[in-house]
Symmetry: C2
């Protein structure tokens, strides 16, 4: 057991001061050396401290490397299955050694399985030898262990564990996979809310440098389970509405959407590019008669933006839909879809939301049903009334987006809204102009807590008009020939949008950095791990 994992959480479940931590650092080093020495002086395979007087021999030790030697017929309980109802049963459980503290003849340790934890205790007696207690104390935190023990109802609730009404009385302990004794970060530190006195927390870069450990916190476990839920709710809603899932190519022959911010790839003897979005291809699928499509996949942006909300690679949730008469048919489907996602998260991930909130507190996410749709002009009007000086058809700066989000929240009590009819000049070439005034366009953004999470529009479905607009935007027509040609054989009016998955997760949970919602984030300065 690592002294680090050992003494950071006191017996009362409360963490201890920086000063004490320094001392532990030294102890940890000693323990590490000791462990290293021990490792070198024991054999590979089933290692066990056989001593003549050890009455526990055969009930603890290191298991040999699992190479699927045999298929044991032994049930392993999940930590969250350990309940008073099975009190008295002797069971096996596998998990990580979360923390351990020993004191003379007894020792307590906690087994962690994702977000669940249970306490185990061992006391030196006729079955448990001094050597066995010593062995338990020598296991490094984060090691994976198999523990056999008897489920016992506790008199007092164990506040530091998720399983508060039971603990295990140890009978066997075997190490499945040992952790190195020195951890580059402590799970407890990485789990701690910031600003709690002098206690250590972990900064964003250290977290990412040691992402494997950072991801083990209850917070990270909850974030990525909820993110998987966003994906599923997105897909299930659209599938139910008759959308077909497609997959669009990521390697493209030309920088299709303007040319800047695109990664270049060496493609055999030629050059290619990484798609900045599935935009052109999902539209081509509409021209190919798919009517309603969605796609979930990586998109790439070679923007040298080092902000809290930009990644160079992220997951795009894209959809595109032919409509009958008016692009609001699509806007409404997207609005309903978001409401469905928000509700689904509330219903299915309440525990995850609450667990993340313990470390990173945030106001619960509010939304209206149906969603609020604001006209761009009216949004600008609200900003002007709040003292912002800007033109009616000027693009929204990031600070103004945030301010608008606050104004909308104050007025309508919603963290989600749709801003419709953006100025044409600030939108991509394929955006359909407003039919009455081409200063405006049939385009919209959607916002969560004042940050853009979807951009969408009705697209131009006439090849000649599209060509004209592309030229006006300085797009090389030759580069998008395949795209433009796809509108030559009959194309329905259509609209759609693209969503950034990591942003939705970040903003729904009220997190401060998009790197917390990307498993292995990529930004201009980070390509590892």
């Amino acid at each position: 057991m690592s002294a680090q994992g050992d003494q950071v959480i006191g017996p009362d479940g409360k963490p201890i001061s920086k000063k004490a931590l320094k001392k532990q650092q030294k102890d940890a080093e000693k323990a590490a050396k000791k462990a290293e020495y021990k490792k070198q002086n024991t054999q590979e395979g089933a290692e066990q401290e056989v001593q003549t007087e050890d009455q526990s021999a055969g009930r603890y030790g290191n298991l040999p490397l699992n190479q699927s030697q045999e298929r044991l017929d032994r049930r392993l309980y999940k930590v969250n299955e350990l309940q008073p109802s099975i009190s008295g049963q002797k069971i096996w459980v596998r998990g990580r050694l979360h923390t351990c503290r020993s004191k003379g003849k007894q020792c307590f340790f906690v087994i962690r399985q994702q977000k669940w934890t249970v306490q185990v205790f061992a006391m030196q007696n006729e079955n448990i030898s001094k050597q066995m207690i010593k062995f338990v104390s020598s296991v490094s935190a984060e090691s994976i262990i198999d523990v056999e023990g008897t489920v016992q109802k506790t008199d007092q609730k164990i506040q530091s564990c998720t399983q508060q009404d039971v603990e295990l009385s140890l009978s066997q302990i075997w190490v499945v996979s040992a952790s190195e004794p020195r951890l580059p970060l402590l799970i407890e530190d990485a789990s701690r809310p910031e600003g709690e006195g002098e206690l250590a927390t972990v900064n964003q870069d250290t977290r990412l440098d040691n992402r494997i450990l950072d991801l083990r916190t209850t917070t990270s476990q909850s974030i990525f389970r909820l993110e998987a839920g966003v994906c599923r709710l997105f897909r299930d809603y659209l599938t139910e509405k008759g959308f077909v899932e497609i997959h669009t190519p990521k390697i493209i022959s030309a920088a299709s959407e303007g040319g800047a911010n695109v990664f270049e790839v060496t493609y055999f003897k030629t050059k290619a590019y990484m798609a900045q979005s599935p935009q052109l291809y999902k539209q081509m699928a509409i021209c190919a008669e798919f009517d309603k499509v969605f796609t979930v996949g990586a998109v790439f942006r070679a923007e040298d933006s080092n902000t809290h909300r930009h990644l160079t690679e992220f997951v795009g949730l894209d959809l595109e839909m032919a409509f009958n008469y008016h692009y609001h048919e699509v806007l409404e489907v997207i609005g309903e879809m978001f409401v469905n996602i928000f509700k689904g998260l509330q219903q299915n991930y309440a525990e995850e939301i609450s667990l993340v909130g313990k470390q990173f507190p945030a106001e619960p996410f509010k939304f209206l049903e149906p969603s609020l749709v604001l006209n761009y002009k009216d949004g600008v009007e609200m900003l002007k009334k709040a003292g912002v000086e800007m033109e009616d058809d000027e693009d929204l700066s990031t600070p103004n987006e945030k301010l608008l989000g606050r104004l909308v929240k104050a007025k309508y009590d919603t963290d989600f809204f749709i801003l419709d009819k953006f100025p044409l000049a600030v939108r991509p070439f394929y955006t359909m102009p407003d039919p009455h005034d081409n200063k405006w366009s049939n385009s919209y953004d959607m916002f969560m807590r004042g940050e853009e999470i979807l951009s969408g529009a009705q697209r131009i479905h006439d090849p000649e008009f599209l060509t004209k607009r592309a030229k006006e935007h300085g797009v090389d027509i030759e580069h998008i020939k395949g795209y433009i040609d796809s509108f030559r054989y009959g194309a329905p009016p259509h609209a759609g949008g693209g969503i950034g998955l990591e942003r939705v997760t970040m903003l729904y949970l009220g997190l401060d950095n998009i790197r917390k919602t990307s498993l292995f984030p990529r930004d201009p300065k980070r390509l590892t791990p």
Copy 2:
């Protein structure tokens, strides 16, 4: 209307000969010129041949470009909703002009909506003018049209349409989006089974050059709906089993899995690579305590392989799972998952399977439950008995894989099986050797119709052993430091596999080329459309 679309299918719904087609080619050119002339000589916007004597004025013409001018409160019926039960009703429907033939005062045309078709007829009378009939005949095939008509029960079944018991009696027709009169390929030709007499079919490259049209065939529509089903069944099964969906980075800092066959990317001022698989990252997710994960996403292979089954970019369905005692726990989950996919396809996509089979006939896909698991050694034995000369621990060549598939089919009557315990030497460095004889390994491939669709194994979860094996494979340890380090803090035994989505779809349907199951395929010679 294009003469091409017009005369290829005769009034009896049967196609006509190549000789006749040549004549039509000429006619088509004439028609095209005529249409071009007409186009240049009419105004944009709501165009209509207003003549003083036209009693149909206002009931046909070209609609202006839809810019969402107004939101009509008009229901558009789906073609498959047109049934005898609504006979007598006057309804609107939007679809593509599939084919049209006019003869003197009457005209018949077919509206297509994805895989559904319905016939419309118009006869010159007090409501339908000569000019209106002429207009209908002038609409190009593949144009999108709004048609108002009365649903009428037919005396005889209309063999050439999916809606065989009803047709529409025309009252209005408006072109929503006109197709160019000349099509680079005809939907009928692209839909025709090969080898039916002298009739035109379309080769694979022409299809891909004109993918937008090729995708409109009933066959393509069915293929991609089924492919979406494969994805959904994969995800739903694993989600239900407690797997968490993750997203792994596609841009990586080093060519991680050996170095060859990897695309290089310019990443700001440095170089990066496109991930050949999510392999290392899904394992890292396991080390990060996710227990069971899956991911669906693009993978990239810079292999200069120009075969029927290789793409440079394809969709990987990957999964990875910690197990308790033996990697067969995972192998069995994967086997059950495939059975679940095959059953789900049978149940939910029977119509699509049958429609694809009309153009590309194939034996129905057979499988066993539980799946057949063969030992590699026994597979080799079967091959040897069939006359193949090879070593016991030699890799399987593609022809031998195919032969083994046929032998297994003959003996066990299954198109799906699992080949277990491959020779260690032919597997990646991270493969766990067999515990008893390291000539073999805890690895497996899965096959459909004699072609590999999944490769998987138990992975080495000990960092020192992994380092040793990587070195033996000539992998630069520095390049995979983050990966190896992820095993240093306790790693559970785990196994998994990677599936090629396009291969599963191709082989399930018995298709001849993987380009048919990739929406916009990428190979060494194709980067467009």
